[in-house]
């Protein structure tokens, strides 16, 4: 019975319009945020990713305020600008005050997000006759994805990957050893800005499916999971993209089985499960195998001690 249901849901990805595009849109998000999230995680910039995701919210409100329409592309543009803006403000706080980076990010995140909520609250009480529903970008509304939305997301994702491929070695070197990269002549300020920009684009892709609040998990969890399985950057990026994409598809499938189940949070739960499995079961670094190896090591030590003490006793007996 359950198997039948799983099969029918799986087939639904190909046959059912809604599930097909929701899964596709979610997969696009997962793949993009998975790949780019590797750099976020390796640069220890997870909080930065969270800050720019939250900073996108007021951008949506302002875009509606000034343009007055719920044109999807315009709202995305507003979100991108403010997400970028949030990043700049965070960096500005760090470089001009004595406030450390994590505090600066926390401040930026809260202020921008608060501004966004104030704006949405203001819009809810005034708004023309068609502003309703801007708060769907808090947690996403994946169920409303249609073909044209997914095409737009695909274009954005293609852009991200083009940049990633073109600048792969540059991103690698500024993440691993930025001062060495700088000594070779790579302009790290501009490269950092470029990397931030593609992450902003990933955030914009994520607004529809998981929303502002949960976006950070899509940047971090796939990469953290992938890191457990490989110590090669290229493989890590590929694996992370696969994990992200899978969680998008599986999350969509699961959320389509029950009425009233929101897709975004289910995707996040899925990738978290993948992360949990990776933490425990990965051969080199997983907890389970580390535990077993330690057990074996201490067993071997015990055996050695036993052998030695046995020999001692033999010798004693012979004297």
């Amino acid at each position: 019975m359950i198997l039948e249901e799983i099969l029918s849901v799986f087939l639904g990805i190909f046959t059912d319009y809604t599930l097909r595009y929701v899964a596709l849109g979610s997969a696009i998000l997962g793949i993009t945020s998975g790949a780019l999230g590797c750099f976020t995680v390796l640069r220890k910039q997870s909080l930065f990713g969270d800050a720019i995701a939250h900073a996108a919210l007021p951008g949506i409100g302002f875009a509606y305020l000034f343009a007055g329409v719920k044109d999807s592309l315009l709202l995305m543009f507003g979100a991108a600008i403010f997400a970028w803006f949030g990043g700049i403000v965070a960096l500005a706080i760090t470089s001009t005050t004595r406030i450390k980076q994590d505090a600066a990010l926390g401040i930026t995140l809260s202020v921008f997000f608060g501004l966004g909520i104030v704006l949405l609250t203001y819009l809810q009480s005034v708004g023309g006759s068609s502003q309703g529903g801007l708060d769907r970008f808090l947690f996403g509304q994946a169920a409303a994805l249609i073909e044209s939305d997914v095409i737009n997301l695909g274009i954005l994702a293609a852009f991200c990957f083009a940049v990633l491929i073109l600048f792969y070695k540059e991103f690698k070197i500024i993440t691993f050893d930025s001062s060495f990269g700088q000594s070779l002549g790579f302009p790290i300020k501009y490269l950092n800005a470029l990397l931030t920009s593609v992450i902003v684009v990933a955030v914009v892709i994520g607004l529809h499916t998981v929303g502002v609040v949960l976006m950070v998990s899509m940047l971090i969890a796939p990469a953290a999971a992938a890191k457990q399985w490989t110590s090669n950057l290229k493989n890590m990026i590929i694996l992370s993209a696969i994990f992200g994409g899978l969680s998008g598809i599986i999350g969509s499938m699961i959320s389509s089985t029950t009425e009233g189940m929101s897709t975004g949070p289910v995707i996040v739960i899925t990738i978290t499960v993948i992360l949990g499995i990776s933490l425990i079961f990965s051969p080199k670094q997983g907890y389970l195998f580390k535990y077993l190896r330690n057990q074996r090591k201490s067993q071997i030590s015990l055996n050695n001690i036993k052998t030695i003490s046995d020999k001692e006793m033999e010798n004693d007996g012979n004297f």
Binding site: K169, F176, S179, F180, L184, G185, K227, S231
Partner: protein, 255 residues
Amino acid sequence: MMEQKSSKNNSSIENEYSVIIKNLSVTYQTEPALWNIDLNFPKGKMIAIVGPNGAGKSTLVKAVMGLVPITAGKVSVFGKPYSKNRDKVAYVPQRGSVDWDFPTDALDVVEMGLYGKLGWFRRPNSKTKNLARECLGKVGLSDYEDRQIGQLSGGQQQRVFLARALAQDAQIYLMDEPLNGVDVTTEKTILSILENLRKEGKTIVMVHHELQTVDKYFDWVVMVNRNLIANGPIKKVFTKTNLDRTYQEKQRMSI
């Protein structure tokens, strides 16, 4: 402050010295890190930079490469600004400045030394890989090319950094405490490689932490504590007087 012999004309100075530093000052916010440094690095010498903690030794090296903003003064490398002669300088940063947990192996790190020559958009290929392999062999780590760098010992990591610098095939090697915390074998390997480079006429500049070995390993010393205290051949300059002056507690800015 050391007076340079200015009787020779400019081109002559450039023939003798690979790096010329004039009047260099570096300030972080309001703290002066380096003040009024006039200094030349002679070619074909093993040069040690010594000084107490916070004296600006790393800053000096970084300032030569423009990695920190220069408040005043000028640096020229083989007669031109650093940005025009980058390919002649190889930088070996401090081992602790990098997260060795990064998912990459020894060969890959060495290959990064060639990214500058590749320039934008071109990708590493079999040529760069083979070159990297060669350099890894020179430091004795051929068997470790697939090893994830976090699994290497401190000495091995330092040798990987050196191999990366070798891959750049530079004329000047700027190194930040490369002998800090390495095993004896590594130290021997590094020093012998550097000595060979020196014999070829390259300039080796090393921020060095261990005063006892300065006269053993180097033939030129730069003693700095925000100001330039002394600069010259070891036998002339590495004296107790200069050491006392360098390592006294509070160094006042002398203009």
